[in-house]
Amino acid sequence: MAVMTVLEAVRQAMLEEMRRDSRVFVMGEDIGARGGVFLATDGFLQEFGEQRVIDTPLAESSIAGIAIGAAVNGMRPIAEIEFADFVWPAMNQIVGEASRIRYGTNGNKFAPLVVRMPYGGGVRGGLYHSQTIDVVFAHQPGLIVIAPCTPYDAKGLLKAAIRADDPVVFLEHKRTYRLVRGEVPEEEYILPIGKADIKRAGSDMTVVSYGLMVHYCLEAARKLSDEGVEAEVVDLRTLAPVDRETFLESVRRTSKAMVVYEDNRTYGIGAEIAATIAQDAFHDLDAPVVRLAGPDVPAMAFAPPFEAEFMLSPEKIAAAMRDLAAY
């Protein structure tokens, strides 16, 4: 096993797939000589050349649209959006088009593209380099939406995404890029899309999360464990199609549920999870499903106190867990 960061896992997944399959190529802003602003494609230009490592103009709608066209015509494009905050101009192509190609052609055509994007806060990114943009993708049937949080998951799921015959939005939390390290097998592996993962077993409550927040939940769970409360932490990993069985099964065992997400609270990812639990595990619940999320302000602000106030933290999560345990 090698120990590596999330960023390195992402890089290796692409590298391996590009070596394996000549249809796979990368495109996006600054991914060539620069190796990407986060260096996810560092060295790619040297290895694969300008044909398969395309520095695009600054035009996100076309990045997505061109990737769609190339995918429909037999290639396996991996398009990078430099920051998730800048994906909005491409929403029409991703949410409006890519998601409906298979359906709208009755299966005559399909678009196996991957759109990767770094997202999330806690990096002093201010309003436009901190956004969590996920529910808009996850709400659109026909799109697969993946948001891994460990190097192992990132590599195995990105490889699966590249091989998938459907459009995939692949969300990489910026803060995990260099912060989170973990073991990754030397040999090739692929993880299944659409399967949540129990990152920590526990019997007192179920905490459902994804992305950076999983790590915060795990940290909070360790604190609570010292206090005698064992929280089970479920990492959704795939946001759409979402794996309801795993977290429902967990809640049926623990009888208490909490959903933790970084994004603005209202109409966010956690609403669906909470509503599902409240509906399908209604009789198992000993307490209302708790939702912990970002506040309903337009985005994460830049000054350190603002950012700290917006972001959840292991402490805030631990406090909520304590309350739920005591309910």
Partner: protein, 343 residues
């Protein structure tokens, strides 16, 4: 008009071409036949709309000459067509039948492009690489650049033709697609069917310049404006552009000036926004009588052939209408299929 039975093979440098740089007399007759079929079918679907049977129709009438020329100058057996929604002639030219299309207008079982899920003429063909995924104007342009890019990456000398209107040229996606195509010298033809209106919005409110072709200079490739009622002129320009594209010469913007002889769609009433004078002028630019006169003058079309072509078109459309009307709607259980790959 130089009709010629002996194609000069000299310019057909790459791969299998259906036709040469000069149209033969049979080619010209065949073009006329498809135009007549398109016109006949178009009139029929408009009627079916008025009878409450076809929910929506966007007539291609006025665009037939340009559309047939563009397909004839390219190769449906290997080229790619990202069409617009006003492309009845294009669809017939690449090989769809009146029955295929009528099933689309009536959304009946067996409709080949989307299984009845989409508006008529939307979806994708199975045998020809022709598609129109969405109704969102402009999205096809970057997608076409991507299709062409894939061919270029694999070294396949195919051409991508992307169709759009004068209205679509205003979309950001149009700019982004042309810019990218210019940078990468993609094998693509931007085929703009300029009919001077986007629904009700006239050119003067769509852009401050006379012609969309003027934009090509800003993207580093040639752009031309042609009379879209002249199928031979359009054929030659598209043929040359396709040859250049196949040979690494990059994109061309071909703007054809056509008339939209009918309202925008069956939901529209163009007398609300077009003057009587404008409508009169428009009617004078119907490509069918013009082309017919040309063919007659050149001795290619006589009364007998003319009548045969039109009565055959009518028969085909009649039979197809009957069959399409009799067909059932698609099975409802089909509608949850093809959301994701079926494994």
């Amino acid at each position: 008009m130089p009709p010629d039975d002996s194609p000069s093979a000299a310019t057909a440098t790459s791969g299998q071409r259906v036709r040469s740089s000069k149209l033969t007399r049979p080619d010209l007759l065949e073009m006329y036949r498809v135009m007549a079929l398109s016109r006949t079918l178009d009139e029929r679907v408009w009627l079916l709309n008025r009878q409450g049977k076809a929910a929506i129709v966007a007539a291609a009438q006025g665009h037939e000459a340009a559309q047939i020329a563009c397909v004839f100058a390219t190769d449906p057996s290997r080229d790619h067509y990202l069409i617009y929604y006003r492309e009845l002639t294009t669809l017939l030219a690449v090989g769809l039948t009146p029955l295929d299309l009528l099933k689309g207008f009536l959304s009946k079982e067996g409709e080949p492009m989307s299984g009845g899920r989409q508006f008529p003429t939307h979806g994708a063909c199975r045998n020809v690489d022709l598609f129109s995924f969405s109704n969102v104007v402009g999205t096809q342009l970057p997608q076409a650049a991507g299709v062409a890019l894939a061919d270029k990456m694999r070294g396949e000398p195919n051409v991508t033709v992307v169709y759009f209107g004068d209205g679509a040229a205003s979309q950001g996606d149009c700019h982004e697609a042309m810019n990218f195509a210019g940078i990468h010298r993609l094998p693509i033809i931007f085929f703009c069917e300029n009919n001077r209106y986007a629904i009700s919005v006239p050119l003067s409110k769509q852009m401050a310049v006379e012609n969309i072709a003027a934009r090509a200079a800003g993207y580093g490739f040639p752009g031309v404006t042609l009379d879209g009622t002249d199928p031979i002129g359009v054929y030659e320009a598209v043929y040359a552009a396709a040859e250049r594209a196949r040979n690494g010469g990059g994109p061309t913007l071909i703007e054809v000036m056509v008339e939209r002889l009918f309202p925008h769609t069956s939901d529209d009433d163009h007398t609300r926004y077009r003057s009587a004078e404008d409508l009169r002028q428009m009617r004078s630019r119907d490509p069918l009588p013009t082309f017919e006169a040309q063919l007659r003058k050149a001795g290619i079309l006589d009364d007998a052939t003319h009548d045969r072509i039109w009565s055959e078109a009518k028969r085909l459309v009649n039979e197809a209408t009957e069959e399409a009307e009799a067909a059932p709607y698609p099975q409802v259980d089909q509608f949850t299929r093809h959301v994701f790959a079926e494994s």
